[in-house]
Symmetry: C2
Subunit: 447 residues, 2 copies
């Protein structure tokens, strides 16, 4: 038996890559300036963005299921490691099935492939559960010493098999009436979350429903179900790392000029040739800095979090989905002519994306404060100085981007300069934040 730590870290790395990869087809869609192509392009682009968001959502749902499974199975052996790799291979194939669905919505092949993958993943997970329960030393302490092991086993198997069985029906239904199979799939994936959230809200509103002591603690789908904090961090790190480097991948591949072109068009001057790519370097450094600082805020936030819940994980997923689109938005800000309407739009879209990425981080903080005694270090409980400092860190990007957005609305002539100024000042603002907060508090006391 082995600690499962590294297996989970590797799975997190794989899943975070797959969750963000569908932004690449969006990023590589060529923007044409001719008006006639515009409409069909916008359709294509919105289809691709839809695929990106759907992939991100479904892959994070699969990731949550993976976390749930390996909160029950806490030790592994060779056999489980190999079964897990097989599971990962199928998960990494899912985005492709979405691309097929988006490009050929009338064709059932994409749906069948998706259902096939999900069914095989479900079967592998069942095999993992059966194997682990037949080697009880692999299990969670709590289940290991419990007398109801068989009850736990059948409960977990039931929850796991629900999705593949529904997928089986969806794939049969798709032969008869395929629009309905999409609806069925959407229900399958989100129903447990929705129903449990509603139940939870009702219990909060009406009053605490007494829970039986023998209640199953795993696979509850409650928003307050604990989610491994370590894995949320590892997954987020993976997404932030991929997204921060997305642009340099393109730059290394596309922006090395051809020697012949340099000789003919630029009279042999490499610097002149590279100057053409100036905006792309700027977009790279700008997006790396922004993603890096958002990672920094996330890192500071999770330093203070002691217990992550499923609801916080969901908010984190939303934040990361916006982070994924950020390099693309930054790249667009430089692709259009200066002072054009398109440039202004691209800059405002960038502001909106950074704003939402920041706002969802702030929402995680608010959700943690809601049950601060369980979820947060005593240092940052409401009212302390560290609390104010953390709040300032979280509020910096939303405030700055909101300000930039409205400034560019008013002073649309100078939108690019305002945006660049924002990019340059924010890192220094973070460096001086502790000082700024102290001055702010002192000023408040003076007034």
């Amino acid at each position: 038996t082995q600690s499962s730590h590294r297996l989970l870290a590797y799975s997190d790395a794989l899943i975070s890559i797959i969750a963000t990869v569908m932004i690449l087809p969006v990023a590589h869609t060529k923007v044409e300036s001719s008006e006639e192509l515009r409409q069909s392009l916008q359709l294509l682009l919105s289809a691709k963005i839809g695929v990106y968001l759907m992939t991100f959502l479904i892959v994070t749902v699969a990731w949550a299921a993976h976390i749930r499974l390996f909160q029950v199975i806490v030790r592994i052996d060779d056999c489980l490691a190999l079964l897990n790799l097989a599971c990962m291979m199928l998960i990494t194939f899912l985005p492709y099935t979405f691309s097929l669905m988006a490009m050929f919505p009338e064709n059932i092949l994409g749906m069948l492939l998706f259902c096939g993958c999900v069914m095989v993943i479900g079967i592998i997970q069942c095999v993992i559960v059966l194997y682990a329960f037949s080697h009880p030393f692999l299990l969670n302490e709590q289940i290991q010493i419990s007398e109801n092991q068989n009850f736990y086993k059948s409960h977990i198997l039931k929850v796991i098999m629900r999705v593949p069985i529904m997928c089986f029906f969806a794939s049969i239904l798709s032969f008869i009436f395929f629009q309905l199979s999409y609806v069925l799939l959407a229900i399958v994936v989100f129903l447990p979350y929705i129903s449990q959230t509603l139940k939870w809200c009702r219990s909060k509103a009406i009053g605490q429903v007494e829970e039986s002591p023998d209640e199953v603690l795993f696979y509850t789908y409650l928003p307050s179900e604990p989610l491994s904090k370590e894995r949320v961090e590892a997954f987020s790190d993976g997404v932030y790392a991929i997204v921060a480097t997305l642009l340099i991948l393109d730059i290394c591949e596309d922006n090395v000029p051809d020697p012949a072109v340099v000789q003919q068009q630029f009279g042999g001057s490499l610097i002149a040739a590279l100057r053409e790519y100036g905006p792309e370097y700027l977009a790279y450094f700008g997006s790396f800095a922004t993603v890096g600082l958002l990672w920094f805020v996330h890192h500071s936030l999770f330093l203070h979090v002691t217990k992550a819940t499923r609801f916080m994980g969901l908010l984190n997923t939303f934040s990361l989905a916006f982070v994924g689109g950020l390099p693309l938005a930054y790249q667009l800000t430089h692709e259009f002519p200066h002072h054009s309407h398109n440039e202004l739009e691209a800059i405002q879209i960038s502001c909106v994306i950074v704003f939402f990425a920041g706002i969802f981080q702030l929402a995680i903080w608010v959700a943690a404060l809601y049950s601060e005694r369980e979820s947060l270090h005593p240092d940052v409980w409401y009212g302390g100085r560290e609390h104010v400092f953390m709040l300032a860190k979280l509020a910096l990007y939303p405030c700055v981007t909101l300000g930039t957005f409205f400034l560019t609305c008013v002073l649309s002539e100078f939108s690019a300069s305002i945006f660049h100024l924002m990019e340059i000042t924010v890192p220094f603002a973070f460096l001086l934040l502790r000082l700024l907060v102290r001055i702010g508090l002192a000023l408040l006391r003076l007034l």
Copy 2:
């Protein structure tokens, strides 16, 4: 103050992406079948492979320096986190400077950019060291309680500044006599390793040289200098994860057919259109499985390692550099017509790459066995059953690929079938390895 764990995990993720990214330009070079283009293509391809290997090497050297720095500084604060992000931004830019050097070897711009980046990275590292020594609670316990703190500080600063100062001279020299500056750079980067390795070999050959008790334990460049095992694992995980998903990134982007093309060329049959891409899916699953299983062997190996050394890190780097080329080789096996000479070559190259990736893993094991009392768990010390089992795991890929290589030489007609058979049987061989080893040992005893 904060634990530096997550900062380091994020840095490892960034560096592992950057180390492997230069394989993409190699992978995306179009293979032309016309003979005339062959020669220029081979030149271009070998330049790109050179850039990939150089990037991998230099980035891992920078990574080793980063490990060394953060073995001295074990806690961080916000300021250090932000400085580290700035450092990462520059490291991720290095591959681009190599591309420029490779495409324009006569132009000094690439060299100047590289030297500039290295100098700024060096300065940032010095600032980090100065900052940490002025806040001693951030430092390693051993240095914190030491009376020679100033001695440590100046020793570390001297080691760190050596490279940027040499780069400064190299950049000046490049204006006068640029071929020499390449030589200077190569010396700068590798001299400490080479000189210390020679010293170490001499001391091993002649006999143990007595070390003064006040010897500096950090920044020694000795092959036996400890290297954080956790970070070697994190970096390797990153590389294995990126490499395993390299092909699906391409597939998701390029292999979704255009609806119009499907309508015209395939009479609306999506399955017929996708059949065209069959080989690429096969290459994806084949390379994912092989990379996954190499990860599995690496994972098993490092479960038994208790202390990693710089030398083991170097062997690991070589293994990972071959792993990086693997998806590309697998893709090539399917790009050429059946039974062609090219197909045979591609299959043999794939075998060679997997063989070397496996052999260097085996070399890590041998290096660990050399000082097994320090580096390995007692379970796997020479002679035990777990030892035999680990050896079998490590030897499986080298043996199988060697066998496949020679079989394809002899039975070149059936090379593709032999290769596919190998791909399919190896995962099952891993699953049944424990059984096979037991049977093997029993047979040995019988004989």
